[in-house]
Symmetry: C2
Subunit: 372 residues, 2 copies
Amino acid sequence: MRPIKTKNRIKVLKNLLQQRKDEAIFISKRVNVRYLTGFTGSNGSLLVFAHSDLPSIFFTDGRYGEQATIELTDSDCDDTTISVSNPQGPKLLEQVGSEVLRHDIRNLLIEASDLTVSTLEDIRTFLATHISTVPSQGIVETLRRKKDDTEIYAIERACEIADQALSNVKGLLLERVSERDFAIELEYQMMKLGADERSFASIVASGSRSSLPHGHPTQKTITEGDIVVVDFGATFMGYHSDCTRTYSIGEPTAFAAEVFELVSEAQRKVIALTKENALGKTLDETARDVLRTKDLEHRFNHGLGHGVGLEIHEDPFISARNESALDLGYVITVEPGVYIPGEFGVRIEDTLVVTKESARALTKIDKDWILT
Amino acid sequence: MRPIKTKNRIKVLKNLLQQRKDEAIFISKRVNVRYLTGFTGSNGSLLVFAHSDLPSIFFTDGRYGEQATIELTDSDCDDTTISVSNPQGPKLLEQVGSEVLRHDIRNLLIEASDLTVSTLEDIRTFLATHISTVPSQGIVETLRRKKDDTEIYAIERACEIADQALSNVKGLLLERVSERDFAIELEYQMMKLGADERSFASIVASGSRSSLPHGHPTQKTITEGDIVVVDFGATFMGYHSDCTRTYSIGEPTAFAAEVFELVSEAQRKVIALTKENALGKTLDETARDVLRTKDLEHRFNHGLGHGVGLEIHEDPFISARNESALDLGYVITVEPGVYIPGEFGVRIEDTLVVTKESARALTKIDKDWILT
């Protein structure tokens, strides 16, 4: 297992801060700290200065000092000093405050969607009154959209584990298993095959419950005549996979078959257009146009897809509101669905990496949907 | 599975707000919302007014409207109006703002350790300038310390599931299983036995790794001569269990046996003193006094225990700094440990409920530690 290399990531962030004419940013969001430094523990934060000569400062507590030294070294983290608080010495946030003062920062960016009100108050306690804390949104998230080769390797490995796990347990769907037991077996297989964790609590929704886009698995037994939606994933080296398959237990009704074919066609058409420079809203509209041919566009009540990486849902979000273009190395899902309340639902989802002329699917398990 | 009843909980909170001379509180922390209303979804918040005649207002989005109605009814939630936002109407936080304005609240308490800076800014956008948002800490957490019978039932059931799971897989420790595979089998058993989830990522640390108080399971094979620390738990109806057992694979060294006996004695002495009105710091000191007899007090580098409920770690925290007394219905852990760096560690932990004259252990799996 090669560690993910973080080299140059802080450098890119510094360039961005310089362009924005910002002086420094305090990174508290755990996945952003991991992205920039390679640190995997539960308590770490990072102070990054725009000035290219100033080392960044990584803050953690005594439990993680040794781990931080190892992980930041292994990941080739850009020039960063590690500051470990101990119960006798100054508190972690006091250390942050004193570093901000020492470097004469006047405006400190904070991650407003992550930092709690009380942590911000605690930091402010240690700052002089002439220093402002400035809420910011999505700065590191923007950098995280484009994946490098090692990140794509990790996501692909997560997808392979998930594919293999589903393939191992698919047969249970014909054996009157409950939704809950199927989810338990699927997740157990992912762990046995080398997942760090599951990506999220699996969705297993059968019969009329399949019309719930986010059906939590219940004790309901999966039986002949059910449509079953299975939405699941694994993580590997911190990176997520995301995949949905829909199955018919026995022969589907003519209407269900028509819906399945329509959703398949929508997904195929979108994937054919997914490449560098494609617009998010164009992809979304493409899927809805296909569903509109059978007057089912109003039964697709969520976005078409989302970025996948250190978070299961991250930038970019693929929807009618996304006017921006895909770039090389973006990893996204394409997941059209149709939900007929009280009857059934169909969703088909793959995780794909954007390349120059096409999109390469990282989830590869077959889409044969009729199980008999 | 009886739903947990939340009746009177909001009433108790209202009384507390009246005593504090507060007007209203906005509850955003998910487990606090669950505690007060019974709602289990991922997006719900609650506005509670001190005035006894004013119904509380529960806010959620379209995905959860139906679920909220069912869950708040099933739990006998105190008088609460459900406000569901939809994509066309005003945003959720705008609704919160307009309710605060409508009821002429001047000072709105917020949960400072939970609410993010950006959510607070969004709420403030919809408030008039004469309205203040006032950071608060731990108000609902204080109410959550004392568990009622249904909560104790749920925790006890979680403990039973965890006990049975460990009992089912314990034999693997003698079969050269890896730490990681043991954790996977243990967690799989808890799920099969009816857990909602695991309480936290299990700790399985063997050999010299057992001296790490929070050793993440690795590929290391557990072999003859190892000491193994297993710290794990299940959740049931949202409530957690927490238990640690230490095993010796084959005969332990004389020193390890001495340490095990000392930690056992510390735990027994503390449990004997755990009852209504016992002081947290007295319990902590009792454990350290026992370890001091063998000059091992400095090898116990964490708190003695913590409350367990909707969170795995919650009020009260049992340490030298806790000057307050235990009350009837508190559920806490007692978990002394000794860690000899590079050699081995021993920790023994039970989850207990405080009663009038004693403490009743909810984790009951035996403490026989030598496996041969």
